[in-house]
Symmetry: C2
Subunit: 510 residues, 2 copies
């Protein structure tokens, strides 16, 4: 009998009575083998078939109706409103990628016609091959089985093998069956999509080291991402692991902003830090304030935090990790606990105290622990001497997904150096706002320098996420009969193409 993995209610820590089978290494090999076979068919499909698949996945997810919402809420305790909006984001994302596939912009079709100095050269992007996706625990839909990694890989024409998060197995099963139903309804090979469960590292490692896998998408911890990255880099044929990992998402408050609206920023920071029980990759973990403003700002955040319990957290492991981190942070030299007792657990309940600490810039600088992401509702307020120290410390921070500056309009010249330092550290710079909430648009970038991600040039949200799963091929002097439609003279799909250096939707030579 094979091992199983139980679905746990995040509000009670009790088993919900549903179990899923854990995959064996043999099943990993079979899934990759089927993905490899499917790839041969998938990469020759006309674009409209891929777009139809993506739209059908969205439809199938909606057909699951309230059952999906209820199961996802039970397994995550994120609440019905959040789960419902996350479903909208997930289906919207799938349909957005379908539009991109229809548009064909992502193929980057480029033609240089023959010339006395050179042959006829025609370049386009093609799918890279079977992709492994590691689902996140904190977004049971949008960054999980039917999430952005799966959607962008399928949109690229790559078969997908998903390793589900053990934190929400029944949600994963429901979504996996919806995707499989869509694959079947649209007449694609069954190996286009497979779902694997596993609680430990064995299945994940087997997947990343399977020779048939050509790229990996991952959302999770720095430790998990690094382990997969190392395994993939150590293969005989190394492959990229696009991992979105830890991020402290610093917030900087200028003297002017603190004076004009310090209490409002404190409230905004606290709301952003505790949203989703602090279980966002864009949670603001550290806020830098000038010392003269720090007391009032800290007092306001502490007032909001005091006695506030957030959660439940996603699972027992997350709660234990947070409790351990808070204990270590409070024990760190120079750290002052403003709010949030060391949490003791009652009756398997996964809620926690919102924790806020304060520290001077020098103590922050000398503590690697304070410069790391801590998943959950814990925030660090760092007192800096002045704006110059605020700017200097920005240049020393690790890479991060986002960095936020609060300042008054008239202070723009004063914070220009701070913004420049942050541009070097972050993937998204926010002005007078808060980092939680990642819009799915063309101009979004959800990425950043190490340790925020493994490859700062790539995003896991927005249309550019597809670039991770494509590679160029150039056809030299090829006959029309053997060229992909996107590169033929007559441009049957009416794509926007770069022809001899000029963008055009027309035919070549017309």
């Amino acid at each position: 009998m094979s091992a199983t993995l139980a679905s746990i209610d995040a509000r009670t820590s009790l088993a919900r009575g549903v179990v899923v089978p854990e995959a064996t290494p043999q099943e990993v090999a079979v899934a990759v083998e089927r993905a490899t076979s499917a790839f041969d068919e998938l990469r020759r499909l006309p674009a409209e078939r891929l777009a139809l698949l993506l739209r059908t996945v969205a439809d199938e997810l909606e057909l699951l109706g309230d059952e999906l919402l209820e199961v996802a809420d039970a397994e995550t305790a994120l609440g019905p409103a959040r789960i419902s909006s996350e479903r909208g984001r997930t289906t919207g994302q799938l349909r957005g990628f379908a539009e991109l596939v229809d548009d064909g912009r992502q193929l980057e079709a480029t033609i240089d016609t023959a010339h006395p100095d050179r042959p006829d050269l025609r370049r386009m992007l093609v799918p890279i091959g079977p992709v492994a996706v590691f689902a996140a625990s904190n977004f049971p839909l949008a960054f999980s089985v039917p999430g952005g990694d799966t959607a962008s890989a399928l949109a690229a024409g790559c078969p997908v093998v998903v390793k589900a998060s053990p934190s929400h197995p029944e949600t994963s099963e429901l979504c996996g069956r919806a995707i499989q139903a869509a694959v079947e309804r649209t007449g694609l090979p069954a190996g286009t999509f497979s779902l694997l469960h596993g609680a430990g590292h064995e299945i994940g490692m087997a997947l990343v080291t399977a020779p048939g896998i050509k790229a990996v998408g991952f959302t999770g911890s720095l430790r998990g991402g690094r382990a997969l990255f190392d395994a993939a880099a150590g293969r005989q044929e190394p492959i990229p692991v696009y991992a979105e990992m830890g991020s402290i998402n610093p917030l900087f408050v200028s003297p002017g902003a603190a004076a004009a609206r310090g209490a409002a920023i404190a409230a905004g920071f606290f709301a952003s830090m505790t949203q989703g029980s602090g279980q966002f990759c864009t949670k603001p973990g550290v806020v830098f304030v000038v010392a003269s403003d720090a007391d009032a700002f800290s007092a306001e955040v502490a007032r909001l935090a005091r006695g506030t319990r957030v959660g439940p957290m996603l699972n027992q492991g997350m709660r234990e990790a947070l409790a351990g981190a808070v204990a270590e942070i409070v024990a760190e030299s120079g750290v002052e606990l403003l709010a949030g007792e060391l949490p003791e657990q009652e009756d398997g309940r996964l809620d926690v105290a919102a924790t806020v600490v304060a520290v001077d810039a020098d103590a922050f600088r000398s503590s690697p622990l304070l410069q790391e992401e801590h998943f959950g509702a814990v925030g660090v307020i760092v007192r800096c001497r002045d704006l110059a120290e605020l700017t200097a410390i920005a240049a020393e921070l690790p890479g991060t997904l986002t960095a936020t500056v609060h300042a008054e309009a008239h202070e723009a010249p004063d914070v220009a150096a701070l913004v420049e330092a942050l541009e070097h550290k972050a993937g998204r710079l926010i002005w007078n706002g808060y980092p939680t909430g990642v819009a799915v648009t063309h101009a979004m970038h959800h990425g950043g320098p190490w340790p925020a991600t493994t490859f700062p040039a790539h995003t896991s949200v927005g249309s550019a996420a597809i670039e991770r799963f494509l590679r160029p091929v150039t056809f030299q002097d090829y006959p029309a009969a053997l060229l992909p439609p996107a590169l033929r003279d007559e441009n049957p799909r009416g794509l926007a193409r770069l022809v001899n250096g000029v963008m055009t939707t027309g035919e070549v030579g017309a």
Copy 2:
């Protein structure tokens, strides 16, 4: 006294009397430190300053006049015509990247204006940071100190530290000084460009593991590329090594093509295989022919090869490596030597016999050695039973930069499956041509699946090469005063931008 590296005449193996100092690990650290300081200035430069730098480097290379041609020819023995055309390619490439910088297309400026559902989001690409470039031995200009990696990194706004090839130190010095003169003439910080020499691996490893280096460009052997890739992946902050490495560049000859023009293809293959003494990364190393055509084809290649000496090779190490490889190939089971004796060296001369061997498909399949690149004028003819075996073997090959099909127009349906298999293996597919010669155009792709390169999504030739050294940043709700010009409403540079999903060169809101 520090160690030195001598310039060697490739035609005589004698020292030319010029030596360059080998860098110490301390000098590597200083170069990276200076690059890091320069980056702060470089990344804020207006585009026209970067474009001016690239054009001035081209001018300075031309100012070196005949001296550069003579030194490069002496150190490589590639011949005056080749060196002269390579200089034209190198300066053309630099000026091409200057045009790209002027155009601004590579910034991918994208704007989504504010909307009830989302903030104002503006995305563009920014330089990734200091780049290390490892120069190749076989292109002393175009893939060396002033080559495509250096040009594309500078065009991105990244400072460059080059590790020169020990095979042409004086050429490297001349080019390095020309670049430094251009940096000075255009008023850029001296750390924008540094040149390091080193014969062993120590300097290269120190460079790749220096924390200030954010990406690496490399052209060379699989072994060298892999060692750098592993070192970079093992860093605390891993960085990408864009390595262009070994490639067998297979050629497939259909029965129709063999019947119609077998002798011409044999001559074309032999010319391509021996061009530059077989020292091209695009050298066709293996040709697949149907057995019934193989005798005539092999006889013609053998006739051309018999008694032909090519070279001199670039250096003694290359010649020894080739002699060793030929000895191993000939000793391989089933291999028949058609032309080319085991070369014995006379008087330090670096010329070699053109070597051609033939083998059956089964013996080829069971020999990893025959499926590897061998640098130099050695070619393998593989006899396949029929077109089906030709197609089957294509699907088993390692990744390669190029793959070539020779077939008649009426055979297009018969070779469609072969072309499909090759699309999965190669970065450039060539029809009725030869792989040597890589045009620098928009539609060129010089890359391919492992072991051709470390990242099949990237190219080291053509305008897309710049993508390796850029990363996105998104500005959310930023005030105009703090936005880069490329993202301001008024579009001062008149860039083509994606605004709310539509490409436009206009202002936002106009």
